[in-house]
Symmetry: C2
Amino acid sequence: MTYPRATIVERLQALVGEANVLTAPADVEPYVVDWRGRYRGAALAVVRPGSTAEVAAVVKACAEADVALVPQGGNTGMCGAATPDTSGSAIILSLARMRAVRALDPANATITVEAGVTLAVLQQAAAEAGLLFPLSLASEGSCTIGGNLSTNAGGTAVLRYGNARDLVLGIEVVLADGRVWDGLRGLRKDNTGYDLKQLFIGSEGTLGIVTAAVLKLFAAPRTRITALAATGDLARAVELLRALKQALGDRLVGFELIGDLALRLSRKHHPDSPDPLPDHPWYALIQVNDSAADAGLGALVEGALAAAVDAGIVADATIAQSQEQADRLWALRENISEAQRREGPNIKHDISLPISAIPRFVDETGAALVAAFPGARLVVFGHLGDGNLHYNVAAPDGSAAECFLDHTPEANRIVHDRVVAAGGSISAEHGIGQLKRGELAHYKSPLELELMRRVKAALDPRGLLNPGKVL
Amino acid sequence: MTYPRATIVERLQALVGEANVLTAPADVEPYVVDWRGRYRGAALAVVRPGSTAEVAAVVKACAEADVALVPQGGNTGMCGAATPDTSGSAIILSLARMRAVRALDPANATITVEAGVTLAVLQQAAAEAGLLFPLSLASEGSCTIGGNLSTNAGGTAVLRYGNARDLVLGIEVVLADGRVWDGLRGLRKDNTGYDLKQLFIGSEGTLGIVTAAVLKLFAAPRTRITALAATGDLARAVELLRALKQALGDRLVGFELIGDLALRLSRKHHPDSPDPLPDHPWYALIQVNDSAADAGLGALVEGALAAAVDAGIVADATIAQSQEQADRLWALRENISEAQRREGPNIKHDISLPISAIPRFVDETGAALVAAFPGARLVVFGHLGDGNLHYNVAAPDGSAAECFLDHTPEANRIVHDRVVAAGGSISAEHGIGQLKRGELAHYKSPLELELMRRVKAALDPRGLLNPGKVL
């Protein structure tokens, strides 16, 4: 049985209640614009189902009416994956009402949550059980776990705990035809056929709609140390990472790189910031945690940093002596994005490389950019422990930043060509969405694109799930 | 262009050299029987390509001739996945000659190896660079990394390091039509479209043939402690696991359960074994490692075990005082499989459950089995830290073990019904192969089977890769 497109809104109202089908422009507005205001789309309606059964009914109704669906979590993505196109022919499927913590099993160290649970609520639920859910992102107050899984989110603890994908044991997915695949298993080993959940994680809602997940929990840290180290060049920063991995093992949770200009911008726009190690070209912000309460972590970190100073790897270092000092060191890193926003537009890249390839990449790419755009300023920071750089190109001092953005395609080509040549990725943690769809088509091998299209055709043959994203 | 089936052996000889195409029965014999002698098949030939290009040429030639391929690594699997059927119409594709370590990148903590590298050689290559490749299995001297990835192998360090899947950054795969997908990326973050490598890992050679991989390396442990703890019941063993995770965090690398009967069999058939904690119903063999050389690990483990004794969780415990003592404790666990073999046939199950569900499962399933088979003896051991039990049912003392095996279907139903009812898996780490294909069809939801078949059809539409396995 099929239904005419015109009646889809009425059908959806019957399925989830009129209050949960938004059509008034003012109601729809927050859903059709991404949070940075870079993408604006249009939608037939925004539907907000409150249960997996309702999601399934909505998807089935849309499939029957041949209406496309754009799933949306907290609408905090960086690549426009949750924003529909401008045709106004799609339905936005918001998972925001699905926010139950369905179960927490301390002995199994798992939590089962619905897609609309925000990351912060999830972290808090784990903490209340004395456990840790380690995924941590700038947007954690508003991003949802459904979006985190659909984009395979990264963040600041990947070095130790992996990406969102690595934290998932099972998922529940509404398929393109509205059937529900119950893959909500809380098992650390399960080799019964193909690992289907992997298809849906990171596929940005183009293969199915994640409605719930079973996630791993970890021992909560009971000792935390934050340090800042200054190094003379990137090769030494890479060497420091290696030395700390050996000395600290799994205690090393975060290793964030901050370039000189990134730090200066952070401090310029947040004048209360500390300046503990002035005038070095590169900094590493180091987070070391231990689940043991009293296992000599301070001495271990001090010893490792002292050894790095003695070896000439580190020029200077400081260890936070209180949680407040630690927070202030972390603020230096966390304020960079906001500082850049205040400083004016810049051309952003979210890239990853083999960690060993980063020093040469940064040297050569920086030189090529400055040759192409004299005076261009490089704001380089990111998760060095994961090989992930936020590599941003700002306009020369005094020039019009808006005009500089016109050079985005040329700058992208300079950066991404070198990323790909070095075996890297043009999207480390932000995904593809609509922003990088062209770049994906440009850089991926035809064979890899063909394989992706075959997977898409196998799971969403009519192309109704998040069309125009990724592929 | 297609070639008649009759000429395929000649074509393969032309592609890889006559010496690398085995057809004489004596040469073929070791490849058509699995190592335990449970499966015997037949093959047109065994072909042993020496490079990815040769694998690709072989697969292309077989595709053109409509000849099925059975990939084989070290032929150490437990489920007959690498053994062809008895028709003699398939080619066995042995990856054993592809044993180059292509690269080791210490700063990126990655190693790139070909599929035929044995796990022990890979571990050794990592160790020589001062790093750790943590996958560890009983068959590590002869199993190959290609097989480990194709079966998503588990083993004794999953608690800390995950399954084989979790150790992979990139793979190279020969597809069903002979094209090569180069996914050999050494990146810890890469969100550029669907994560295709996940499809091939754990698919037992039914979707593509893994020819090489980029794998994660870790800081090598410099302190190791092995302990044995005795507990009065399984609920306490689960509680001990939880307590040790909190006290030791990532230092807890292994937590192996040994049931009383499993330990007695191990000791009976290996008379030199120690008997450090006699007469308890359950034992946990505990491995704790630290990459730091001197960070008070001994005191930490002693404190954690003493606290568990004080709390009534542990009845008695012993900590190995030397590497030799540690090896002897580990031998208690490692000798169980061989002891069982000597004791006579038994009905084996490789299952996993949410860890919290294990005590009740073991109680209820044991009671059901003993009710169905009076006097049946349960040999229960395994990787409790991963929720993975090797749950084996031996004939009553004095009865004919061979006859008892006739009850396998009935015993499987008793065990697997309860596994599935408790949210568990009927194959935790050994895979499906041909052994559990019927059980998979019995227990998986029709929807999940349909999704797997769609994936199979998308990647191997003609069904030439390892037919009759998994699905």
